[in-house]
C-alpha cells in the first residue's frame, strides 16, 4: 500500500481526531451548540441521501420522522422515565418500522406517489401532535424532565453523542455504497425498469433504504427533544429542517458519501451567522426565503453539487466511460 492510497483511505481520521479533541481545548457553549447542530444536520442529511441521493426518490417524510422521534422519545421519558439518550436508537427503530409501512404504501409503484405520500405523512404526524391533546399536550407542547448536570458537561455530552451518530451515519453510507445493496439503489436511480429486469427486488430495496434513512431522522429528533427539554408541534416539524437536509445534500453532492457532510458543515455555520446578523423581526422569514433561493439556484446551476464539480475541475480527467472506447473505434462504428 503506497502513501497515496493510505491518504485516500485514512484521511477522514484527521478531521475526526480534531473534532474529538476540540471540546478539551475550552470550546465555549456557543461553539459546542454550533457543532452539535452541524452534526445533527449532517447525520440527517447523510440519512436523507440514502433514499434521496442513492435511490433517487425525493422524500419529504424525514421531517415527519424527526418530529415523530421527538414525540416518541419525549413521551417515553415523561411517562416511563426512560432516559432519551439511551432510548434514542430504539426510537429510531420505531420510526424505521413506521417507515416500512409508509414505504409499502408509496414505493410499490414508481413515479410521483412517493413524494405525495411522504409529504402527507409529515402533515399527518404534525396534525396528530397538534390535535391528540390528551397525549401530546397539543400546541402547548410537552415539557420534559431536565438532565441535571453541569451545563458545559451537558454541552459536551450532546456534542459527542451527535458526533457518534454522524460517524455511524457515514460508516453506514460507506458500507451501503460498497455493497450490492448500494449498487442496486443506484441502478434503481439510473433506470428502475432495467434494475428490475436484472433481478433486483426494487420494492424491497427502496423500502429498506427508506427505513435506514428515517432511522437517522428519528434518532436526531429524539436527541433534539432532550436537548431542548421540550417538544411542540412547531419546533418538531419546522419546515426549515426538511429544507436544510435537502439543500445540504444537494450542495455537497447528491449520491456521494461525503457530499451531505460537506454541505452541512458549510451551510449550517453560514446560516447561524446570517440569522444572528439579520434583524430579529424578519430573520426567520428571510432565512426561509434565502434557503429557497439557494435550493432553486443549486438545482438550476450546480445540480451535481460541490464535491462532484470540484472533482471534475481538479482531476481534469475525462470520465472513464469515454476513455474505454478508442476514438477511432467510435468513429468507424458510425454508419
Amino acid at each position: 500500500m503506497n502513501a497515496r492510497r493510505v491518504i485516500a483511505v485514512a484521511w477522514p481520521l484527521a478531521p475526526l481526531v480534531i473534532l474529538i479533541a476540540l471540546p478539551f481545548n475550552g470550546l465555549n457553549g456557543f461553539l459546542l451548540d454550533l457543532f452539535y447542530f452541524t452534526f445533527t444536520y449532517a447525520a440527517m442529511s447523510v440519512g436523507w441521501n440514502i433514499i434521496g441521493g442513492y435511490a433517487g426518490y425525493i422524500s419529504l417524510a424525514n421531517l415527519g420522522f424527526f418530529g415523530l422521534g421527538s414525540y416518541v422519545a419525549g413521551l417515553t421519558l415523561s411517562h416511563l422515565g426512560w432516559p432519551i439518550l439511551l432510548t434514542a436508537p430504539l426510537v429510531g427503530v420505531v420510526c424505521a418500522l413506521v417507515a416500512a409501512v409508509i414505504g409499502w404504501i408509496a414505493l410499490r409503484t414508481r413515479g410521483p406517489s412517493f413524494v405525495i405520500v411522504t409529504l402527507a405523512f409529515t402533515f399527518i404526524v404534525q396534525f396528530l401532535a397538534l390535535n391528540l391533546k390528551d397525549i401530546t399536550g397539543g400546541s402547548a407542547g410537552l415539557y420534559l424532565p431536565l438532565l441535571s448536570m453541569d451545563p458545559l458537561l451537558r454541552g459536551d455530552l450532546f456534542y459527542y453523542y451527535m458526533l457518534g451518530v454522524l460517524i455511524l451515519s457515514i460508516a453506514v453510507a460507506i458500507g451501503i455504497r460498497r455493497s450490492r445493496f448500494g449498487l442496486g439503489l443506484i441502478a434503481i436511480r439510473e433506470d428502475e425498469g432495467k434494475a428490475e429486469g436484472s433481478g433486483i427486488n426494487t420494492s424491497v430495496f427502496k423500502i429498506v433504504a427508506f427505513m435506514i434513512s428515517c432511522w437517522f431522522a428519528g434518532v436526531a429528533g429524539a436527541v433534539h427533544a432532550q436537548y431542548l427539554n421540550y417538544v411542540d408541534p412547531d419546533l418538531a416539524f419546522e419546515l426549515i429542517i426538511m429544507l436544510n437536509m435537502i439543500v445540504m445534500t444537494l450542495l455537497g453532492s447528491r449520491g456521494t458519501v461525503w457530499g451531505p457532510v460537506l454541505g452541512a458543515f458549510i451551510l449550517f455555520p453560514l446560516q447561524s451567522y446570517l440569522v444572528y446578523w439579520l434583524p430579529s423581526t424578519i430573520a426567520g422569514e428571510v432565512h426561509l426565503a434565502l434557503l429557497g433561493v439557494v435550493l432553486v439556484l443549486i438545482a438550476r446551476f450546480m445540480p451535481e453539487g460541490l464535491l462532484v464539480t470540484l472533482q471534475k475541475l481538479i482531476v481534469r480527467r475525462p470520465p472513464p466511460r469515454l476513455q474505454a472506447v478508442p476514438a477511432d473505434a467510435a468513429t468507424s462504428a458510425r454508419p
Binding site: 413524494v115 396534525f127 428571510v286
Partner: protein, 290 residues
C-alpha cells in the same frame, strides 16, 4: 336537513377546490411534475389581491383578471428559464426547485405582511341567504359561480382550440405530439403558465372564503394532492369530480366532528386511494387525460 346543508356547502366549496387543483393536474399532465409550490402561488395571489383591495380599492373579483395575466407571464418565465432545463435532466431537480419556490414565496410573504393571518373582506362578505332550512353565505355562492365560470373557460380552451388540442396531445404522448408537429417545449411553457394563472385566479376566491397566513399553503397543498390523486393524476375531469367528492365529504364531516378533524378526510381518501388503486379512480395518466 343537516345533511342537506352539508351537501350544499360541500358542492359550493368543491367548486373552488376544483379550481385550485385543476392547475396542479394540468401541470402534472404536461410535465409529469408535482408542483409543490402550487398552493403557495394561490396564497401569494390572495395576498396580492388583499393588497390591491386595501390600497387601490380593487374588488377581488376584478383583481382576478390582473393577477391571471401577471401570473401567466411569471409562470411561463419560470418554466422557460428554470424548470425546462431541469425537466430534461432530472425530474426530481424540478420538483425540488418548486419546493424552493414555495419557500421563497412563504418567506417573502412573512417578511412583507407578517405571519399573522389575513382575510379579504369586501362589502358583501357577511351576507347570508336562507333557503328553507339551508343557510348559504353569499360569499360561497360567489366563489362557486366564479370558479365554475373560470373552469368552463379552461374546459373550452382545452377542448375547442388548437392550443388546447396541442396541450392534450403533449399530455398524452410527448414524443408523438412532437412527431405530428407540436412545438412541445413552447406548449409546455404555455401550459405551465396557464396552470399558474389558474392558481392565481383561485387566490382571491380562496382569500374571500378562508383566512390565510404565509405557511397555510402547506395545509392546502396536502388537500390539493389528495384531490388530484383521487382524480387520477393529470386527468382534468377526474380532478373536477374528486374535488366535489372531497368537498362534500369534508363539509358533511364538519357537521359531526370538531372542525379541525375534518382535514383528516383528505388524508384518509389519499391513503385509501393509494392502497387500493394507486392510479386513481378516473382513468390512468397514460391512457386518458381529459
Amino acid at each position: 336537513m343537516l345533511l342537506l346543508q352539508g351537501l350544499v356547502l360541500g358542492v359550493l366549496v368543491g367548486g373552488m377546490y376544483a379550481l385550485m387543483a385543476s392547475g396542479l393536474t394540468l401541470i402534472f399532465g404536461v410535465m409529469r411534475l408535482i408542483n409543490i409550490a402550487h398552493a403557495a402561488v394561490i396564497i401569494f395571489a390572495s395576498y396580492l389581491s388583499w393588497q390591491l383591495l386595501r390600497v387601490l380599492g380593487i374588488d377581488p373579483l376584478i383583481s382576478i383578471v390582473i393577477l391571471v395575466v401577471v401570473f401567466f407571464i411569471g409562470g411561463a418565465l419560470l418554466q422557460k428559464y428554470v424548470l425546462s432545463a431541469l425537466i430534461d435532466k432530472d425530474l426530481s431537480l424540478a420538483l425540488l426547485a418548486t419546493l424552493g419556490v414555495a419557500n421563497v414565496l412563504e418567506g417573502m410573504e412573512g417578511a412583507l405582511w407578517t405571519s399573522s393571518f389575513h382575510a379579504i373582506n369586501t362589502g358583501y362578505s357577511d351576507q347570508t341567504y336562507h333557503f328553507g332550512d339551508v343557510y348559504v353565505p353569499l360569499i360561497r355562492i360567489i366563489t362557486f359561480v366564479a370558479s365554475v365560470i373560470i373552469l368552463a373557460g379552461l374546459y373550452v380552451l382545452l377542448t375547442h382550440t388548437n392550443l388546447g388540442r396541442a396541450i392534450r396531445a403533449t399530455t398524452q404522448n410527448r414524443a408523438i405530439a412532437q412527431l405530428v408537429g407540436v412545438n412541445v417545449n413552447r406548449i409546455t411553457m404555455i401550459a405551465f403558465g396557464i396552470g399558474i394563472a389558474v392558481a392565481a385566479a383561485a387566490g382571491p376566491l380562496m382569500g374571500m372564503y378562508y383566512p390565510f397566513y404565509p405557511n397555510s399553503h402547506w395545509g392546502w397543498i396536502g388537500k390539493l394532492m389528495a384531490i388530484v390523486v383521487l382524480g387520477g393524476l393529470g386527468s382534468f375531469r377526474g380532478t373536477l369530480v374528486a374535488a366535489l367528492i372531497l368537498g362534500v365529504a369534508e363539509q358533511v364531516t364538519i357537521l359531526y366532528v370538531p372542525a379541525n378533524w375534518a382535514a383528516t378526510v383528505f388524508f384518509v381518501f389519499l391513503f385509501a386511494v393509494l392502497i387500493v388503486r394507486p392510479q386513481g379512480f378516473f382513468g390512468h395518466v397514460a391512457r386518458e387525460s381529459l
